[in-house]
Symmetry: C2
Subunit: 283 residues, 2 copies
């Protein structure tokens, strides 16, 4: 990246924040960290993920930062940035990892100091695990990275984060508007989680692991779900998600009808279409 | 297994049949094969999966067999066994791999010669690939194996297939009635395929692979689906599957309602329940 002595501040040393800190530190960047939990900070310091750490709004860490990345849940992200922007260095860059953009980007961009710049981002990687102890740079490798800049963003700042993503090992780096992102994420990520959770909750059968093949395991891997974060993401993208759930349910009802009608031809047509699309999707 | 010189006949050298043949041959058993396609037979002979091969109803292969395993689709399975039982050796054991039992087991058990015994089975493993060229014994290792014996089955024959499964490397071996099996399979396997297909078909977006994380990939792995086999399985287990689709749809609608109502508490409750169940499910 452009500035060799760029000082990073990671706010929220969870799975993602911890992994960012680890990845940056491994590449020789100066990284500080902020968290609400002192055990987390101790762990991150001990493992060399951060050089300095502080609780919540350790002012000196904020003041020193050239780049601040919020790795906390959406609502906390907005609050923390707006409450602590008064401590930030003029010209500092900000970014985030929020899984929905609608209720995060606009509130921030509207009230942000004019000499700060917030470039929204969404790293498309994660694990069902929580906390800095699971920080890992492997999950970043080759993962998709999405930037959702607005008219308030400069090309310079956006380019910085493109480089940031490449440096950390992300694969495809895309740009979408916030609206495009939220529409897309409703389908590729939120709907899938809604499905996995509903599948898991649809049956009480406690012995199923004796009978299952891989398909059940695959479909419910993400049924182990961080309830705080995902309730914020779901409700934060309500209209898009409901639309996607409706579209999916309609498709499933159509499949059910074909089974009801014992319509082999119709069923096969659906299976063939599904197969063709999945083949196209494969890397 | 009990008889060192047991001669196996595999009917249908597809992915599963080919894998069975390969696994048995590797362990030194005498294995013959029958298929409708001569290229398949040549391949299996060439790779040592079978010692002798023949098309469809090669009588000498059927007559010589002590154990005949039908690895063809459900409807073909019933037809082939009933049409060719006249060639079978007295005391021969038969089995299958059908993914639904309702429209397979009863038709066979009702009309089977009294001196033959059919022990229905369902190996819970597979890949989205078809054909003997993909035969692999790895997918068998540790997979679940289900037997669905009826009152027409002897303990001796059932024990034989328990040993068979252990010998080939299956993991947990369970016994269910045909009804229990079909109810269970509707949830753990058929519903998951119905979901994956519907998810894949719900959107035309051709660029999604640039934006997706692992969840979409996980949920649609099985969207590449063998349309002949799966239309038979779905319609063959129609009532159970429709019931499971309905239960799943109801759960998903309830989730949708919680989003609509912006009911954080309700959403979190669903997520926590899902997480707890998934943790219990983990090996």
């Amino acid at each position: 990246m452009k500035h060799g002595n760029t000082r990073f501040l990671i706010v929220g040393l969870g799975l993602m924040g911890g992994s960012y800190a680890k990845a940056l530190s491994e590449r020789g960047y100066a990284v500080d960290g902020i968290d609400i939990d002192s055990t987390t900070i101790d762990y991150a310091l001990k493992h060399g993920y951060i050089q300095r750490g502080g609780i919540v709004n350790e002012v000196s860490l904020i003041t020193d930062a050239d780049v601040i990345i919020s790795c906390v849940y959406p609502r906390t992200c907005v609050n923390w940035i707006l409450e602590n922007q008064k401590y930030m260095k003029s010209g500092a860059y900000l970014s985030d990892i929020s899984g929905v953009k609608a209720n995060v980007v606009e509130p921030i961009q509207t009230s942000l100091r004019k000499d700060l710049e917030f470039v929204p981002a969404h790293p498309m990687c994660g694990r069902e695990l929580r906390g800095v102890v699971y920080a890992n740079t492997e999950m970043i490798k080759g993962a998709n990275f999405i930037l959702t800049p607005t008219e308030k963003n400069s090309e310079e700042a956006v380019s910085f984060f493109v480089e940031f993503a490449k440096e950390l090992g992300f694969g495809k780096i895309s740009r979408l508007t916030c609206e495009e992102h939220d529409r897309m994420i409703a389908y590729v990520s939120q709907l899938t989680h809604a499905i996995a959770v509903s599948l898991m909750n649809a049956s009480e059968n406690p012995q199923i692991n004796e009978y299952t093949g891989d398909s059940f395991r695959d479909l419910t891997r993400i049924a182990k779900i961080n309830e705080q974060m995902w309730s914020e993401l779901f409700i934060g993208n309500k209209q898009n998600l409901i639309r996607e759930i409706d579209a999916f349910q309609m498709e499933l009802s159509s499949l059910k009808q074909a089974i009801e009608d014992e319509d082999y031809a119709e069923l096969k047509e659906k299976f063939i279409q599904s197969t063709q699309r999945r083949i196209q999707f494969d890397r």
